[in-house]
């Protein structure tokens, strides 16, 4: 029942928002997202004490086709719901810093998207999952499109077509699986699209082989995995900052989560068949993203490519099919979400002050902005995976998982840490330190409102880095369960 409240509260708030404007809209949006976070935190508390049984809701949605509105949360879902509900209020706060046209609609779309995201992370029915998968896409398309930069029309069209084509392929795969459940030639009502029904299917290796790619298409585009990534840097760059944060901080995790829950256990034979190519693609993505990031002169684009590189490592860890790799991916989803939102927020803060993201135009900002510099450095070092930060725990576990799969691949994937140190520290050096630019004397430091966004992020970075056990603990049974399912 709690899951249903988590799902529909943002939606209700989004609808209400359309009737409000100005300060009321801000208060309503922020209030709803904070209540949402409180509910998720309560869910985490309840999970620790009484388990996840009470989160289930199973309701006959389309009886004539055997489709149920079945949502629930295990440890893995819970962590992602926590991440979503934690980031959305901060993203809203960062949106308040901008003067958008129709701000109420903007906030409503953010909350609407939150419903979609939470739906994706909690659905236990394939069609419901697909439904929320697309529900999450529609608002972000409009957020990126209507409030985006100059090249928004072409860029968002590409983004939309890529993701929808990917998810249609996934839908085709789901329909095939769905028709395999129940009697062979019955009416649709006799079939089932429950996750558990998919888990208990006995499909041949050749069927699983092509089903793997149908389903993986959607996840590979969303993450994105090389070579399905071409929409990503443009979309991240052209979108308004809050939309970029939603895309990189949360939406990207839909792909990783989907792989863990809807791909690995559903077509395990297909996975073992394609494990190697996918890991190779992921590692190519790691190196490719990093090398291109080094060459970037636009702060936002650099972070976008850096994100591409880090996602590659997460995918490789997931496909290592080891406990440590999957746990690493789980913790890294949280850490990366926090890091990338923080990085994009700081990039946005600099752009709002200087009017540019062009690295050569910036430099020597640090003298007037000690607090900004410190925050930037913390986020950056966590992205580089320095010990004590969340990034370190995630990447360490991921690399350990990949290493277990193959030592050479692990070694190459490990380059990501060196590479990200190179491009991120170089950027920091050129933007914050370095020779003075025209902004060095005039730039102002972070305001209290901005700190309000960064402090929770930084706190979480250290929490993840110092006490990762508190999170790993939550997801462990779920991850073990998934791996048992894969190994059957």
């Amino acid at each position: 029942m709690l899951t249903a409240v988590l799902l529909f509260l943002p939606l209700a708030a989004a609808l209400l928002l359309l009737l409000t404007k100005g300060a009321t809209a801000r208060a309503l949006a922020l209030g709803a997202s904070l209540i949402e976070f409180a509910l998720a935190a309560y869910a985490a508390f309840a999970f620790k004490t009484t388990g996840s049984g009470s989160f289930n809701l199973d309701y006959a949605w389309i009886p004539s086709a055997g489709i149920n509105f079945h949502v629930g949360m295990d440890g893995l879902s819970l962590l992602l719901v926590l991440l979503t509900t934690f980031l959305v209020p901060l993203i809203l706060l960062s949106a308040f810093k901008h003067k958008y046209d129709n701000p109420a609609t903007f906030y409503a779309l953010v909350l609407f998207m939150q419903t979609g995201l939470i739906g994706v992370f909690t659905s236990l029915d394939a069609f419901l999952f697909y439904f929320f998968w697309e529900v999450a896409l529609i608002p972000i398309y409009f957020l990126a499109g209507a409030w985006g930069g100059e090249r928004r029309v072409a860029v968002t069209l590409k983004f939309f077509l890529y993701t929808v084509v990917g998810s249609l392929l996934m839908l085709a795969g789901f329909v095939y699986l769905y028709l395999q459940t129940g009697p062979a030639a019955g009416s649709l009502a006799a079939h089932s699209s429950e996750l558990s029904a998919f888990y208990s299917l006995k499909l041949s290796a050749s069927e699983q082989s092509w089903l793997f790619w149908l389903i993986f298409a959607a996840f590979a585009v969303k993450m994105p995995i090389f070579p399905f990534h071409t929409w990503q840097p443009d979309t991240y760059t052209e979108s308004p900052a809050p939309a970029t944060m939603l895309l990189s901080g949360i939406m990207l995790k839909m792909g990783i989560y989907g792989t863990m829950r809807w791909l690995l256990p559903v077509v395990p034979l297909g996975v073992s068949q394609w494990q190697k190519p996918v890991i190779i693609l992921s590692v190519i993505g790691i190196i490719y993203g990093a090398i291109i990031a080094i060459r970037q002169r636009d702060v936002k684009r650099l972070i976008a490519y850096s994100s591409l590189s880090h996602v590659g490592l997460m995918a490789a860890g997931v496909f290592s099919l080891t406990q440590i790799g999957l746990q690493g991916a789980t913790i890294q989803m949280l850490a990366h979400g926090v890091n990338v939102v923080g990085m994009f927020f700081i990039a946005d803060a600099i752009e709002r002050r200087t009017g540019t993201r062009h690295i050569p135009d910036l430099g020597g900002l640090t003298r007037r902005t000690p607090i900004l510099s410190v925050c930037f450095l913390v986020m950056l070092l966590s992205t580089v995976a320095l010990p004590l930060t969340g990034g370190f725990v995630g990447e360490f576990l991921l690399l350990a998982g990949v290493y277990q799969y193959n030592a050479w691949v692990g070694a190459i994937a490990g380059l990501t840490i060196i590479f990200s140190a190179v491009y991120l520290l170089r950027m920091f050096q050129r933007v914050m330190l370095g020779p003075d630019s025209s902004f060095s004397e005039t730039i102002t430091d972070l305001t209290g409102g901005e700190l309000l966004i960064l402090v929770p992020l930084i706190a979480l970075v250290f929490w993840l880095g110092l006490f990762p056990g508190s999170f790993l603990h939550i997801s462990e049974p779920a991850v073990t369960g998934l791996l048992t399912q894969v190994g059957r």
Partner: protein, 466 residues
């Protein structure tokens, strides 16, 4: 049956209302009359199998369901005739009367149990549409559309009639169920050539009415020339009734000849999907895009015919019902918005929609919902329509066709997105003023968008009701 009687009576009543020479009364009058018919139709739901006219017409849940769609579609279409009211069009009463009469034909098309009744139904509907296509007497494009539609339509009806005659020759009966048994009788095998030519001719005749390729070529021209108000009617009511008739014919009368028509329909289906979607992607005018898109939707509905396999109550039949409903309301909403915008801005290309999100948020929102529904994106009824049809077809093993349909719906994304891009991502011209929309149109558009979303969120309400 009550609905046919009421519609006929109300049609004539409407003609008399025309004598009042007050267009202000006519629009609400016609809407109220149709609402009454809708209620009468609803009263027949679950009333069982009621035959009329020596079993020539039958009213059962199938008839009632499809009648419901065409009535609802017409009711929500009427408010967009406001421009005729404002212009003081002297023939408004006749238009309404013709719409009501054509609905009688549509109901006969979904309720027939006898091929002559099918023919009479199609003719009633068609003759009304020929007239309405040319209702802008001084507009040469409207005249062209009417003439084209009439000539092509007359040919198609002729071919259909010829097919009916051949079918009668081969089986000795016009009644649907008897046709079914006669065709299944092995003793009639020697008559097969005649039977097959008859079936083929009937498929051509009905294929023309529902604009299935390769008999769709008239559609873009006629849709473009016909006044938008009637184009909306053509692409929804005529199509829904046509598919209601088509499904009944194939499922009740011709299941035994499945081996013959199945490949034909499959080929038509693939061709319709291809030409409709590729054609729509190439258009620059919103109205022409909608015309081609209506061809492509005939393709998706044909998949339902393929999957129905002689079953009027199965998944495929339910899919066709759901799809027709979702398609009709989304199409009416889209045409409604296009009509209002074109009337005001005097241009019908995509750029005519530029910046509508700013000037008319409601119109833009409604257009968005209908485009997403037509494209089959979740949260809208169109998604579940496609889902039911394609799942039913895949369940029957028509994987190739389903895969092709999915690929074509990816093409569809491209052109359905273009109005959205124009409305939200491109700025309006500097001197653009809001498109005037009156209260009843606002309410109707909001209702259509809401209904589309309701169908997309709670499809269980209407799925599997047949």
């Amino acid at each position: 049956m009550t609905s046919i009687i009421l519609l006929s009576v109300f049609g004539i009543l409407n003609l008399f209302l025309g004598f009042l020479r007050s267009n202000k009364v006519l629009l609400p009058g016609a809407m109220l009359l149709l609402l009454a018919v809708f209620g009468a139709n609803y009263a027949d739901w679950n009333a069982g199998h009621a035959p009329y006219f020596n079993n020539m017409l039958v009213v059962d849940n199938y008839t009632v369901a499809f009648t419901g769609i065409v009535l609802l579609t017409t009711i929500v279409l009427l408010p967009f005739s406001r421009s005729y009211v404002l212009e003081g069009d002297a023939n408004l009463a006749e238009y309404y009367a013709l719409l009501l009469f054509s609905l009688v034909g549509a109901i006969m098309m979904v309720g027939y149990d006898h091929l002559l009744m099918l023919f009479v139904g199609i003719e009633i509907l068609s003759v009304c549409m020929y007239v309405l296509a040319g209702s802008r007497k001084r507009d040469s494009r409207s005249n062209e559309a009417a003439l084209k539609y009439f000539l092509m339509g007359a040919f198609a009806t002729g071919i259909l009639l010829f097919g009916i005659a051949l079918l009668y020759g081969a089986t000795g009966t016009f009644a649907l169920s008897q046709l079914g048994t006669a065709i299944a009788t092995p003793a009639n095998a020697s008559l097969q050539p005649m039977l097959y030519i008859g079936i083929l001719m009937m498929i051509i005749g009905i294929g023309f009415k529902v604009s299935a390729a390769p008999f769709h070529f008239w559609t873009p021209d006629v849709y473009e020339g016909t006044p938008t108000f009637f184009t909306a009617f053509m692409s929804t009511v005529v199509k829904t009734a046509g598919f209601g008739a088509f499904l009944k014919l194939l499922a009740v009368a011709l299941p035994a000849a499945q081996g013959f028509w199945m490949p034909t329909i499959q080929a038509m289906c693939a061709l319709t999907l291809l030409l409709g979607n590729v054609g729509a992607a190439a258009q620059t005018s919103t109205k022409r895009m909608l015309a081609y898109s209506s061809v492509s939707h005939a393709g998706y509905l044909l998949i339902g015919l393929v999957a129905s396999k002689g079953n009027l109550t199965g998944d495929a039949a339910n899919g066709i019902f759901f799809y027709s409903l979702a398609y009709s309301i989304a199409t009416i909403a889209a045409f409604g918005v296009v009509k209002l915008v074109v009337d005001h801005r005097q241009r019908d290309d995509y750029a005519g929609l530029n910046g509508l999100g700013k000037t008319n948020p409601l119109l833009a929102f409604v257009m968005t919902v209908s485009m997403l529904s037509l494209a089959g994106i979740p949260l809208t009824g169109g998604f579940f329509g496609k889902f039911f049809l394609l799942a039913a077809a895949a369940g029957q093993g028509y994987i190739g066709l389903v895969v092709f349909a999915v690929i074509m719906s990816m093409v569809g994304l491209y052109y359905y997105l273009r109005p959205l891009i124009a409305m939200y991502l491109r700025p309006a011209e500097a001197d653009a003023t809001p498109v005037p929309v009156d209260g009843i149109q606002t309410a109707t558009l909001a209702f259509l968008a809401l209904l589309t979303i309701v169908l997309g969120v709670a499809p269980g309400l209407l799925s599997g009701i047949l």
